[in-house]
């Protein structure tokens, strides 16, 4: 199925000629829904489409009849009628009735869809340029919190590893940390964003909800079977919009409980002592990671930025100037530019990433920023 390159041209031509049956192996419809609500939506789509096809065939049946039988070349003489109140009223009213018939099931489905009450678990999904942050707010697992970024290797995307791409069944639809939820439970997703609008979209679970900065929106789903469901950001959010996938892992209740426990121990282990005194080297190593996850998309791993769009940090006045200014910039962002606030990062993360930028590439300030100075400026 994944015949790339030249084969694609052949495929393109061949598929034109091939029969409808041959097409069936490709996905011609909505993804198979894995929720009850999704099934309803799926059926609703089927009904609307069928109605449209019937009317379409009917209308164009008439038209093609005329095209073949009422043509001048077969000697047909034009009639001169140009009005008929009865038919005109009929073809105004009949569509109207059909539409009302359609609106009824649509209304029911929509009302169910928007009912986010009585959720078992509430998770906040925050869109960032360009990753998702998840905070489990209520229900089993509350207080778990992590970021989720694309895990497809850059080389596959940039074409340095085409073989790897072709062998990767989840190309662009895989993350480092999946959202994990239990099966058969109503999961309420609260969406919001830190910078621009994103949208949380998982087709197989039939959810899509915009994540609007500064506002909370919600949606829900209840998965019927365990499995892994993949989706991606569905609102243009800047240059990496195509690269912020969402992967939902639905587990049985027992496995979920185990996952929650493992997350909590991990959290305790990872919890750094805020009073710890980091050395410059430690901060730099930690900072490089933070930079890779948060900053490199714009300022590039080389620190050279993208001319015209994202300034180089290497040699930057701000990075080599007073540290307070850089801390302030990172905490507040710069209004009206893509440089948004990073205050969602922890004190240590911010301290380390600032230290990293001030001691990398052509920058050699030799300063180690303490997390206390971040806290002081918050």
């Amino acid at each position: 199925m994944r015949n790339l390159g030249v084969n694609k041209w052949i495929f393109a031509v061949a598929s034109l000629l091939s029969s409808v049956a041959a097409w069936a192996e490709y996905n011609l419809n909505l993804q198979t829904p894995h929720t009850l609500l999704g099934q309803k939506i799926y059926d609703l789509h089927t009904i609307v489409t069928i109605i449209c096809v019937i009317i379409f065939v009917g209308v164009f049946g008439f038209m093609f009849y005329a095209v073949f039988h009422h043509r001048k070349s077969v000697g047909h003489k034009a009639a001169q009628f140009h009005e008929n109140t009865a038919v005109e009223v009929a073809w105004t009213l009949i569509p109207f009735v059909i539409l009302i018939a359609l609106a009824i099931p649509a209304t029911g489905t929509l009302i169910t869809m928007r009912d986010t009450t009585e959720a078992d678990i509430t998770i906040k999904a925050t869109g960032y340029q360009w990753k998702w942050g998840y905070d489990y707010l209520k229900g089993e697992g509350a207080s778990i919190s992590f970021y989720s970024t694309l895990s497809t290797p850059r080389a596959q995307i940039d074409g340095d590893d085409v073989a790897g791409r072709q062998a990767n069944p989840h190309y662009l639809l895989e993350t480092d940390n999946n959202v994990v939820v239990p099966v058969g439970k109503k999961i309420r997703i609260l969406t919001t964003a830190a910078d621009v609008i994103h949208a949380w979209y998982v087709p197989a679970l039939s959810v899509k909800q915009d994540a609007v900065p500064g506002f909370i929106r919600d949606t829900w789903f209840k998965a019927e079977q365990p499995g892994i469901y993949r989706g991606q950001c569905a609102e243009l959010c800047g240059k990496q919009h195509g690269f912020m996938p969402i992967v939902v892992e639905v587990m049985t209740a027992e496995k979920y409980t185990a996952w929650v426990a493992s997350q909590q121990t991990k959290a305790v282990a990872a919890k750094v002592d805020p009073d710890k005194n980091w050395t410059l080297a430690e901060l730099k190593t930690q900072g490089e990671k933070v930079f890779g996850q948060n900053c490199a998309a714009c300022h590039q791993a080389t620190g050279m930025g993208v001319p015209g769009a994202f300034p180089a940090l290497s040699g930057s006045k701000v990075v080599n100037g007073p540290q307070q200014d850089q801390i302030k910039l990172l905490l507040n962002g710069k209004q009206g530019t893509a440089m948004n606030s990073f205050k969602h990062l922890s004190d240590v993360e911010l301290a380390s990433v600032i230290t990293y930028t001030r001691n990398s590439w052509s920058n050699h300030t030799g300063e180690a920023i303490s997390s206390a100075s971040i806290k002081a400026q918050r």
């Binding site: 919001t192 500064g214 909370i216």
Partner: protein, 284 residues
């Protein structure tokens, strides 16, 4: 070459004013883009653009006034002008409607939303959605503009100016040029006093009340609505000056005075916008 006319409808000769206008707007577009990004050249381009624009307006309107006085415009042309002006004012109504809509949306939808329980818990702790308010992320405070001071006075001024303008119109229909000129002069004076008050109000708001454009929902809607209105009063006043000069020069008579009426319509429109402004921006 004589002017073309068909069935008496005046068709102008080829004219260079449109292309001049388009060059002016090209300069203004690039100039404004560069200026807002603080690129040096921007102000130069903007300056050139405004100069050409001014030159174009002066030239084009002079040409029209000459054609009008030359008796080129018949009844049908006059009717065209009326339709044209009417639809232009309709487009202006829609423009103002947007900003009224924004104010309505902020007061009844976005701000209450931001102050709702879930938003307070998760995003904006402690935000109270009581109008007038700047917004949950703005720590600075300001005082809102009270309705019953200068704004009420300004309302009275504008309403009076509507009356004086109608008086001038009535004089024109009676062919009483003295009263026409007086009516126009009074209207202009009232308009300029209005503008003077507004300038004072703005400076007072900025220096004493900390009410700035950046003051969130209140500041932005306040300045955009009153600002665009003030801009329209300014334009209207300039047009009234033109009409005044033309009246002094003996233009217009009881049959042919579209120039006067177009401006009068515009002025009344600006008047009505102010009434809405007064109610929703200052009063409620």
């Amino acid at each position: 070459m004589s002017n073309q006319s068909a069935g008496g409808y005046y068709l102008p000769q080829p004219s260079h004013w449109p292309i001049v206008a388009s060059i002016a707007l090209g300069f203004l577009g690039f100039g404004a883009s560069f200026s807002v990004n603080s690129m040096g050249l921007g102000y130069v381009l903007l300056g050139i653009g405004f100069m050409i624009l001014f030159f174009m307006f002066a030239g084009w309107f002079t040409a029209v006034a000459h054609e009008s006085e030359g008796g080129n415009y018949n009844k049908q042309v006059d009717a065209s002008f009326r339709w044209g002006m009417g639809w232009f004012i309709f487009s202006e109504v829609m423009f103002f409607a947007v900003f009224f809509g924004v104010l309505f949306y902020m007061r009844t939808i976005s701000i209450p939303d931001l102050g709702s329980l879930e938003h307070q818990q998760l995003l904006w702790p402690g935000f109270k959605a009581d109008w007038p308010v700047a917004g949950p992320g703005i720590k600075d405070t300001f005082s809102p503009m009270a309705a019953w001071g200068i704004p009420a006075l300004n309302t009275a001024l504008l309403l009076t100016s509507g009356v004086t303008l109608t008086w001038a119109h009535w004089a024109l229909l009676k062919n009483n040029r003295m009263q026409l000129i007086w009516g126009l002069a009074l209207t202009i004076a009232l308009g300029m006093i209005f503008l003077g008050f507004q300038v004072y109000e703005y400076s007072h708001a900025m220096s004493e009340m900390n009410l700035k454009l950046s003051m969130g929902a209140y500041g932005a809607t306040f300045y955009m609505l009153t600002g665009f209105h003030g801009f329209h009063v300014t334009v209207g006043t300039i047009m009234l000056w033109v009409i005044l000069f033309r009246s002094v020069a003996g233009h217009f008579n009881e049959h042919s005075h579209f120039g006067f009426e177009g401006v009068a319509w515009y002025w009344h429109f600006v008047d009505v916008v102010w009434l809405f402004l007064f109610v929703v921006v200052y009063w409620l």
